[in-house]
Amino acid sequence: MPGDDMTITERTVGDGIVLVPEGDIDLSRSPQLQARLAKALSNKPARIVVDLSKVPYMDSSGVATLVQGLQHCQRAGCELVIGALHPKVRSIFEIAKLTEIFRIVDDVDSGD
């Protein structure tokens, strides 16, 4: 089906990497995010920020990808930060109590 791939842009900010996925993250797309997280982590950054400002929907497969990414980052001594949560996605984070385990920032570049 055309249009099934998700665009994930990447930029470097200081000693960290910012990933910006665009579109819904569900079972069909979470593997792409998982692969990009692994690739970013292989560059040994101090921090990876996943900017979710362009993700209006995420299901439990996306959540699982982020939790797995958090565990991999912790083992590698890298911080995983979630940025700019869309309100609909924030509600899923709250139900799953993920707001307590992730550092979530509003400003992706400043980390505040």
Binding site: D26, L27, S28, D59, V63, T65, Q68, P87
Partner: protein
């Protein structure tokens, strides 16, 4: 080709407004969400309620694709959507599969205080719906009945109650959509 809307789906309430069959492919989840969002919007759901209904249905389909059909891309999943007027305005969604031996109630559900990937789907479904009940189909496989009410229908009774809730009328049991295939 048999009639895609089988007479067997007729109930005392009449046929569902929408009935469709999809293949067990993750790339189709977005299309189902779009359809559901449009239908829920017409019923009167607000943005958050609509998003929660989409999430519940999406999680149900994901469970069937991953655990029921083990990612086989050519199995069928049936959905029917019905607008509810009584006892409260909302939507009933029935989702059926034909996988023998797959019981979503037995899927591992993690403690939310435990930080690990997976095990969230069933918890999310129950958290955001007013009714979430699995039942065995006579023909094999499972049927999931989800009901969610519009937020302004009864603000004192939010989602999160499960299929044991006594204030929710039992949905009629539909017969097999496979009969029409």
């Amino acid at each position: 080709m048999p009639d895609p809307v089988p007479n067997s789906m007729e109930t005392p309430e009449g046929p569902p407004e929408i009935q469709l069959c999809i293949l067990s492919q993750p790339r189709l989840l977005g299309a189902v969400r779009s359809m559901l969002e449009s239908f829920a919007d017409r019923i009167g759901f607000c943005g958050r309620g609509c998003g929660e209904l989409m999430l519940a249905v999406d999680e149900a389909l994901t469970n069937i694709i991953r655990h029921g059909y083990d990612h086989a891309p050519d199995c069928r999943i049936w959905l029917s959507l019905r607008a509810l007027e009584t006892p409260r305005r909302g939507i009933r969604v029935e989702i059926e599969d034909h996988q023998e031996g797959f019981d979503p109630e037995r899927l591992p559900e993690r403690d939310l205080d435990e930080v690990r990937p997976g095990g969230l789907g069933v918890h999310l479904m129950r958290s955001v719906t007013h009714l979430c009940r699995h039942e065995a189909r006579e023909q094999g496989g499972m049927r999931l009945v989800i009901e969610k009410f519009c937020e302004d229908a009864d603000p004192q009774d939010g989602p999160g109650s499960t299929g044991t809730s006594s204030d929710v009328s039992d949905p009629p049991r539909s017969n097999s959509p496979e009969d029409a295939m």
